[in-house]
């Protein structure tokens, strides 16, 4: 019988991640994040950089594409842009009651 704990978390967009937390969540160095922010591949650079759920998901997708296909960061970002766009369009199809399959 597995042990059951009751835990309460926070919604990431209510308490955003800082640079080190995002890097740790992706198992990368902070420099990896900084380079992609400065290049505009992850999100727009801001003085008090905080990262939302969407940026965590984007960072993990970028990392997976770069790692799995030895893709350079710009190419990985293009792939992730397309994945996100397909996701948005699928969401609109679902909202309109159209099955995308």
């Amino acid at each position: 019988m597995p042990q059951i704990e009751i835990v309460t978390g926070v919604v990431l967009d209510e308490v955003a991640l800082d640079l080190d937390e995002l890097a740790r969540a992706c198992s990368v160095d902070a420099l990896w994040v900084v380079e992609r922010v400065e290049a505009g591949l992850l999100c727009e650079a801001a003085p008090q950089q905080r990262f939302s759920s969407a940026e965590l998901l984007r960072a993990r997708r970028l990392l997976a594409i770069e790692r799995d296909f030895d893709a350079n960061p710009e190419l990985a970002a293009l792939v992730v842009d397309l994945i996100e766009e397909v996701g948005r369009l699928k969401g609109r199809l679902r909202a309109a009651g159209i099955d995308e399959k």
Partner: protein
Amino acid sequence: MEFKDYYQVLGLDKNASEAEIKKSYRKLARKYHPDVSKEADAELRMKEVNEAYAVLGDLEKRAAYDQLGGRYRDGQEFQPPPNWDAGFEFSGAGFSAADMGDFSEFFANLFGQAAAGQAGRGGRAGPRPRRGEDHHAKIVIDLRDAYQGAPRTVTLRAARTDAEGRVSMQEYSLSVQIPKGIKEGQHIRLAGQGGPGSGGSAAGDLFLEVHFKQDPHYRVDGRDVYLSLPVTPWEAALGASVEAPTPSGKVQVKIPANSQSGRKLRLKGRGIPGEPAGDLYLLLEIALPPADTDKARQLYEMMAREMAFNPRLAMGV
């Protein structure tokens, strides 16, 4: 524990070159990529492919695995022989302890100590103060959970190291409070529920990526929720007050006279709660009663006679 034939997973023979292994991995990573694949079991297959590549894509692990591999078939009962890996040095490169939750018992047993050591869990590298790794998992909830908030149980797997440094995969359950107002794709961060730290350091965090179970009635876009609401021809034509379901309970809705199929009625603030709350959209669908009795047929015939209505007029016919 069953033996895993990693060559079979990647569709290769045992003499495959490094280039062939990489090529096959990329081909399968594209085929089973969870964001684009249409295969039903894409996520599971991707995990298998990643696991196979974590071994075959690493020279040291591949060499040690090859030493075992000739004697076993895929699925065959397997226990690693004592000192099976003598003479090989695993660095833990190519995967992290965080990945281990996705890998099989077989992998954890053979190569888990390398990852555990890398994470400073008391494996061969010895205990070194180090914060535990952050872990990631998905949780699938009902739309109603986002409206009301609710405790939901999620089952996870993680590699655990015992006092003697043996690594095994353990399943455990967490009951998680789903916060009211959560949206698809958002993350719930559970502090200290990730990988254990070592040398007195804190455990990592667990990030749960939220997804909604497909609902037979409701569709969700951000915080907005959509529902197709069937209405009768007379309710649509004459206007009516009808009862409609919403994820937070039934409401009375006024159907404006002369409504057509596809008309969208917005119930402001009745989408997923939040600041601001989403809206609930009702898409009217006019449902025709079947002409399956004499009385029903007479009524349709009377309408045909009495109503000058040509729905194809705009088409010029």
